[in-house]
Symmetry: C2
Subunit: 225 residues, 2 copies
């Protein structure tokens, strides 16, 4: 965690913030603890960030840096790669999701990322309105999926066999029959992986977009373009 005697930079502060948040959760990120991680008193940090708000903004933007920009292959696989990269990143820094929901001023990396995605779609022949729609659906889905994944009472990567039954036990079977049915199914299905769930929705959306692109006219938009 940062050697003793170098002058601090804003970048170091933000990076340490990300690292700390990963380790102890976003609520564990306090100015004093962050200072400690950097061998510095809490108040010294205020020469590199205006306040904690801005620290969190910077951390959020730094996370965006990790997301793979879409490459210039066909738009579909480009979107797929980006989607998985975004999901991975959000899983690697679970706290980031809570921040994007409350931050209204996007950082530099954030804007660059959005522009790149939009560009990939436009160059692939998406009319402007459809490109905007596509961006909106895709991002909404990815973020929402990440929210759900975090709300799950188990780690989404491991086989949920016993866990599912534990959850099942929480609510009375007869009162919530459909949930019970579902949980039972997952409990017995040992091969189940949550990635499949993500891929299903993603492909469904990409199919829809492909169809919309083929038809030509983006629906639900005042005719212009």
């Amino acid at each position: 965690m940062a050697d003793k005697r170098t002058r601090l930079t804003r970048e170091q502060v933000l990076a340490a913030g990300v690292e700390l948040a990963d380790a102890v959760g976003i609520d564990g990120v306090t100015m004093r603890k962050l200072g400690q991680a950097l061998c510095v008193e809490a108040m010294s940090l205020y020469h590199h960030v205006a306040n904690k708000e801005q620290l969190l903004d910077g951390m959020t933007d730094l996370v965006y840096t990790e997301i793979q920009l879409p490459q210039d292959t066909d738009w579909r696989t480009a979107m797929q790669v980006r989607a998985h990269s975004l999901r991975d990143t959000l899983n690697r820094h679970p706290w980031a999701l809570r921040l994007v929901g409350s931050r209204t001023s996007p950082g530099d990396a954030t804007v660059r990322h959005h522009d790149a995605v939009l560009g990939t779609l436009r160059r692939a022949g998406f009319p402007l309105a459809l490109a905007a729609h596509a961006f909106s659906v895709l991002d909404a889905y990815i973020y929402g999926f990440a929210v759900q994944e975090q709300a799950l009472p188990f780690d989404s990567e491991e086989a949920p066999t016993e866990l599912a039954t534990a959850i099942l036990a929480q609510f009375p079977t007869n009162q919530y029959p459909y949930l019970a049915e579902l949980t039972a199914r997952y409990a017995e299905d040992t091969g189940y992986a949550y990635v499949q769930e993500f891929t299903f929705g993603l492909d469904l959306i990409l199919d829809g977009l492909e169809r919309a692109l083929a038809v030509g006219a983006p629906p639900y938009t005042p005719a212009r373009e």
Copy 2:
């Protein structure tokens, strides 16, 4: 805000919490202020909730109460009505979204809601796996859309004409050409409403589900059922 001399109940506390959060935001909800709103000292609240965690859990579940359960019409319009109701509710209580992402133990209303949605799909003929997939995509989309709506630097309901240009001014046009193009378009299109964006994605997903239902076999699932 609650008359003087009635004994407090847990329900009153939670309702006051929701009201307070709506008024001053979730960070403004402190035990002392909540107590004040109920004409009671902060510590008295601890006789009705174990700690602040549990207060937030209860508030989250109370919000779920407001979401319209799907009626027993055809599944498609049922899902549409529910989707819009969920979005409205999340917009009415913007703080709730941040909570669902961090809460892992669902409340009673939450579970009931999930069961009802699942039930509607099952009764409409969705195989179990497809019903689960459908639930996952839809909820992910709705939550994610709400996240994006909140991250927008403007109120999603009003015409963003001048606002868009203000945003546009933030980042250099030449550096982010596609975003600039998009923002310019929205600035000139006075008839634009953000609901259309929501409806586009929702219909796209519902179309996809309808097709998957027609085909019969849910993709991406180990063959069983």
